[in-house]
């Protein structure tokens, strides 16, 4: 048993940290926050050049074909940099296409995604704001060999910059997964400004949007299963990203506690501050164990993978928030300012807490697996 990154995995992580430090410093993050989509072409190209947009895309579809542990290592650094934009959304969509798409569909979407030429997202949530596929009500009405969609999706991340939006709609008892291209007739994308401006949310309105039957993913009939598995992949990657954010907050707070003087001593010599920092470490390391285990279990198709993912997300949701809370408290007034970069992570901790389901949601999922 070896619960440590291998040498190549470590190298990958180090190079990710170096690249993101260069290309995505806090100044850049702040610039992008202020834009409409938080997306930047040159930054995206830089990610694609590293192969990250295709990191877990199979080699046959133009990707690197690496596992989720490698992806988690890179995602951790993305979280540390508070990377803005559509990376996670695109990964989610790619995971869905990989699992639900025909060979042709995979070629059509995954190759340009891997090449960094296509950004995508998945439109799942509706008014209920529930991540359960059962809660999907938006209907894909069948007519003349195709579907017509009328209604709206909410809280869709990065829809403003996605070239393709995979719409999860109801097709009787089954789900229809419909990739809708940007600019499709009847498609409208309206911003839903939210706390975390580095991960933009949108209302997506389908005003009689049409999709051909052949365009639908999941024709093999298990669209629900594919969605579930893709969600698990995206959730595990999000957890790794959250770990990186926690690590940034921890490092920054400890550094501040060492240098900030009050009462003639560094504040880090006060037990109250020491103990907050110790708790932050404990939570960050625990979140890391959980996140990497989830990534590994998914890669290995371990039967416990689903449980591992919910364990990781339930823990990380609470832990990132609590680490961020303590980070602000250790910093005092300065940590509460717009000027200090803590605010970026503070808000990211909140948006990540709810994305793909909060701790309560995942605990109930765990209960279904271990109690029922």
């Amino acid at each position: 048993m070896d619960f440590d990154l291998s040498k190549p995995q470590k190298l990958l992580k180090e190079s990710a940290r170096a690249l993101l430090a260069r290309e995505c410093g806090a100044g850049r993050v702040r610039e992008l926050m202020e834009t409409e989509t938080a997306h930047d072409d040159s930054l995206w190209r830089a990610l694609a050049e590293q192969g990250w947009t295709g990191l877990v895309v199979p080699e046959g579809a133009g990707g690197l074909g690496l596992g989720l542990v490698e992806m988690a290592a890179v995602a951790e650094e993305m979280g540390r940099a508070c990377l803005p934009g559509a990376f996670l959304s695109t990964l989610f969509a790619a995971a869905l296409i990989e699992r639900a798409g025909s060979e042709a569909q995979r070629a059509k979407y995954l190759e340009p995604i891997a090449a960094g030429e296509l950004k995508a997202t998945v439109a799942l949530l509706e008014e209920s704001a529930s991540w359960d596929a059962d809660a999907v009500k938006l209907e894909a009405a069948r007519d003349g060999g195709g579907f017509t969609v009328r209604g709206r999706k909410l809280f869709v991340p990065d829809a403003g910059v996605a070239d393709v939006i995979v719409c999860v709609a109801r097709d009787g008892d089954a789900l229809a997964l419909l990739p809708i291209g940007r600019g499709a007739e009847g498609l409208r994308v309206n911003p839903m400004p939210s706390m975390d401006a580095t991960r933009k949310l949108y209302e997506v309105v389908f005003d009689g949007v049409r999709a051909a039957e052949g365009d639908a993913l999941g024709a093999d009939g298990d669209a629900g299963g594919a969605l579930q598995r893709a969600l698990e992949v995206a959730t595990a990657v999000l957890c790794a990203e959250m770990v990186g954010g926690m690590q940034w907050v921890l490092d920054t707070s400890v550094e501040y506690a060492k240098t900030r003087q009050q009462f003639g001593r560094p504040i880090g010599s006060f037990q109250a501050v020491q103990h907050m920092c110790a708790d932050m470490l404990l939570m960050t390391e625990s979140a890391r164990s959980a996140a990497y285990y989830a990534a590994w279990a998914l890669t290995e198709n371990d039967p416990a993978a689903r449980l591992a993912v919910s364990t990781a997300k339930a823990y990380c949701s609470d832990a990132y928030r609590e680490v961020a809370n303590r980070g602000v408290q250790v910093h005092g007034g300065i940590g509460f300012t717009w000027e200090h970069d803590l605010q970026l992570y503070y808000k990211r901790s909140k948006s990540s807490e709810t994305l793909f389901g909060d701790a309560t949601y995942h605990r109930e999922r765990i209960a279904r697996l271990v109690v029922d």
């Binding site: 529930s130 009050q262 006060f270 007034g333 940590g335 909140k350 807490e353 709810t354």
Partner: protein, 392 residues
């Protein structure tokens, strides 16, 4: 023990409530003037304070001889509650009324009383408080803003931070170091500083919540006359403590009404957002959270009433303020977290309920830092109430 208001307390409340009903501007109901213009906004608030003054409702805790109403502590609490209940505009002169005025009354010269007190009451002059500095937060006595002697007066250089109302203030109760050689609590002096004097600069400080409730204030060779010393030279720590005691004696009676309104809004919202296909308000987990928020707020109200009783009887502000501050700040953070859990991603939206949940969640994070961190409050409670030895 009798938790009912006495007839005279009821009379006070009814009178003020009736006055507010007549006088709170209708357009304020939405929480603002409707105007985006900053100067207009400030004028509006000054006018509101003037109206209170004209109605006899300014300085209600001040002795009558200085133009106040000489109200009891409980009446002051009622005053704050009613202001909040009526959703009245912000009290722009609050620093002058509750902190500077009482300190001038306690320690000021006859001239200072005559010069400053009436204009505090009328809202003609707005005050801010210049104590904290970038390197002197919890450790206030470490402050470094210097006042050097210059003939009879002083020349002040340095920087203050977390200064509420600075951008609209006419005067500042300014704590400076006049003797660098003395131990840190000794060489301090309290000055009444003109915010319009040459060399005074104000820079709003944006918070993570996006707004700017605080400021930085810069003093560059600002000249201040000898008549502007409040208390004694080099004994400013005593003056500052008097002022802080007055601040901490504010038990947060007004803020509770705001909390109550927020909780009512949350309960109402819990009936419109969904959880597992039914209103969140029917979800057992949500119900536990709402009930916990309710009971914690109710206990805040009860603690306040006990503290008011105790302060009224002893007359000496003790650590009640620290206990109250510690309680409500942490309570408010818990409650806003419950709100987020109940509202889900809606709670983060800037356009859902005009963004109040998003704003409140972020703003609340400052509660355990501003006006004495929770750590400092716990130290105060441990040392002053429980008599434990000092930790540092």
């Amino acid at each position: 023990m009798d938790l009912n208001l006495t007839p005279s307390e009821q009379k006070f409340r009814d009178e003020f409530r009736a006055w507010l009903k007549e006088n709170v501007p209708e357009e304020w109901a939405g929480g603002g003037t409707g105007s985006e213009d900053r100067a207009e906004y400030i004028e509006y608030l000054r006018a509101w304070q003037r109206r209170l003054y004209d109605g006899g409702w300014a300085g209600i805790s001040w002795p009558k001889e200085f133009g106040g109403r000489g109200a009891t502590l409980l009446e002051q609490a009622i005053f704050q509650e009613e202001l909040a209940r009526a959703n009245a505009p912000q009290l722009v002169g609050t620093i002058g009324l509750s902190l500077v005025g009482p300190t001038i009354i306690a320690l000021g010269t006859a001239e200072q009383k005559a010069r400053y007190l009436p204009k505090i009451l009328s809202g003609e002059e707005i005050w801010c408080q210049g104590f904290s500095e970038p390197n002197a937060g919890s450790d206030l006595a470490a402050l470094g803003t210097k006042a050097t002697r210059d003939g009879e007066g002083f020349v002040v250089n340095g920087q203050k931070i977390w200064t509420s109302f600075a951008q609209m203030a006419d005067w500042c109760l300014l704590l400076v170091r006049t003797d660098s050689g003395a131990p840190k609590h000794k060489g301090l002096t309290c000055l009444l500083a003109d915010m319009h004097a040459e060399g005074v600069g104000v820079r709003p400080l944006r918070q993570m919540s996006g707004d700017s409730g605080f400021n930085e204030v810069f003093f560059s060779n600002v000249r201040i006359g000898a008549s502007q010393v409040l208390g004694e030279v080099d004994k400013g720590w005593t003056t500052a403590i008097t002022a802080l005691m007055n601040e901490r004696a504010n038990l947060g009676t007004g803020i509770q009404v705001v909390f109550k309104r927020q909780l009512e809004a949350l309960v109402a919202r819990s009936k419109t957002v969904e959880r597992n296909g039914r209103p969140a308000s029917e979800d057992p987990l949500v119900r536990q959270k709402l009930a916990q928020a309710y009971l914690e707020l109710e206990i805040l109200r009860l603690n306040t009433n006990r503290a008011l009783t105790s302060l009224s009887k002893s007359g000496v502000p003790g650590a009640e303020g620290s206990i109250q501050k510690l309680y409500w700040s942490e309570m408010n953070q818990r409650t806003q977290q419950y709100a987020q859990e109940i509202l889900g991603p809606y709670g983060q939206l800037k356009e859902f309920d005009r963004g109040v949940w998003e704003y409140a969640y972020l703003r609340t994070r400052g509660n355990t830092i501003e006006a004495g961190t929770s750590e400092i409050q716990r130290n105060i409670i441990a040392e002053r109430v429980l008599g434990l030895p000092k930790s540092y």
